[in-house]
Each structure stands twice: as structure tokens, then as C-alpha cells.
């Protein structure tokens, strides 16, 4: 009965870990509570996206993750 939260890129530094298991179900309020103050502050920013089950949420505040789901926190990207 758990959800996996993945911290991508610089968010892993802020979280101090790459992933964390939390109890299912998980909504936006639960996510904010679960990730610590520093990551929560980033999550509130427009430029940070959230994916659930491998899909980027159009409205991250509508998050509703269930048992076995993976929630990825996606800060601004840079490649190439």
C-alpha cells in the first residue's frame, strides 16, 4: 500500500535521497507534506512538473496516486 516518489535532478540534492516510499493514496497535500520544506517550496513553482505513472500532469495539484504508482518530481531540464 505505497507510492514511490522520485526526486529528479537537483531535487534529489534537496531531498537528500533519490526516492522515497510513502503511504498510498497520495494527493497534492500529502505530497507537499511528504517531501520536506525545501522540495515543497520548489513544487509550488510553475517550472517544476509532476508526473504520475509516467505521464506529466497538466494540473499537478490534481495529483491522485494509488498503491504501486510512481510519482516523479521534475525540475527544469537541461540536456545537450
Amino acid at each position: 500500500m505505497s507510492v514511490t516518489i522520485l526526486f529528479l535532478g537537483p531535487l534529489a540534492d534537496l531531498a537528500g535521497e533519490k526516492e522515497r516510499e510513502v503511504d498510498a493514496p497520495l494527493d497534492w497535500a500529502g505530497l507537499i507534506d511528504a517531501v520536506g520544506a525545501e522540495v515543497a517550496e520548489q513544487l509550488e513553482l510553475e517550472r517544476v512538473n509532476v508526473a504520475c505513472k509516467g505521464r506529466v500532469l497538466a494540473d499537478k495539484r490534481a495529483l491522485m496516486a494509488e498503491d504501486g504508482d510512481e510519482v516523479a518530481l521534475l525540475p527544469p531540464v537541461s540536456g545537450g
Binding site: 535532478g9 537537483p10 508526473a51 510512481e70 527544469p76 531540464v77 537541461s78 545537450g80
Partner: protein
């Protein structure tokens, strides 16, 4: 990677022009290494969509989009794109388009190790401007 490009050329014998871009870790100042992280469920499908969009927008015969992940040392290749088109202008623009998107609109996170540790890299203002050209 030379082989990937050779195979791409061979596969597109009908194309009038093939453009390639190879990006490497620059042995710049005190950059000792680069690390690229991805998120598999998004990164690869995103790159496939990007290639399809470019192929359709520029009328390409083919597109190759290749990006390494993990830790890379100065001089090593990071990224390779290649585009095949009937006319050279389309091939040039499509390669440019692909690189601008990989740089600041693909699901990749980059950090570099300097003498004082690792630093995450965010796209520069120039990268955002480059991307905005296509919108």
C-alpha cells in the same frame, strides 16, 4: 557513434543532404566531468516524439536523435543528431531544431563537476531564446 552516422547515411541514400551535429563535453575551465540524468518513462518517448515532430515539420526522409546519460569526461560525446532531407536547408533547420529542443525541452538533467564539487546546470537565457524561435 561514427558507425551510427555511417549507418544513417547508408539508410538514406535517396536524401540529397544529411546534416549531423555532435556535441561533446568541452574541456572548459575547471569542468572535470558532466553527468546526465534521465527519467526513462518520459525521456525516451519524449525524444521519439521530438524526432517525429521534426520529421513532419521539415519533411525529412529520416532523423536520428541520440543522447548519452551517465557520467562523461571532457572530449567525450554527449549528443548526436542527424537529419536527412531532399533539400539542404530543411536538413540544417531540422538539426538545429532538434538540438534546441534537446538542450532545454527534453527530460534530461545535467550537472558538472568542478574543483569545488557538482553544480546543476539550467538552460541559459540564450537557450530559451533559441527554443522560442520555433514557436
Amino acid at each position: 557513434m561514427g558507425e551510427a552516422l555511417a549507418a544513417f547515411n547508408a539508410a538514406h541514400g535517396e536524401a540529397g543532404g544529411v546534416v549531423s551535429f555532435l556535441g561533446k563535453v568541452r574541456p572548459d575551465g575547471n569542468v572535470r566531468a558532466l553527468e546526465l540524468t534521465h527519467y526513462e518513462p518520459l525521456t525516451l518517448p519524449g525524444m521519439e516524439d521530438l524526432a517525429k515532430t521534426a520529421a513532419s515539420r521539415f519533411g525529412l526522409d529520416g532523423a536520428l536523435v541520440w543522447h548519452r546519460i551517465g557520467v562523461m569526461m571532457p572530449g567525450e560525446a554527449i549528443v548526436l543528431v542527424a537529419t536527412a532531407a531532399r533539400h539542404r536547408r530543411d536538413a540544417f533547420e531540422a538539426a538545429d531544431y532538434l538540438m534546441d529542443h534537446l538542450k532545454s525541452a527534453a527530460w534530461l538533467w545535467k550537472r558538472e563537476r568542478r574543483d569545488d564539487g557538482w553544480h546543476w546546470i539550467e538552460p541559459r537565457g540564450q537557450d530559451h531564446e533559441d527554443l522560442a524561435r520555433w514557436q
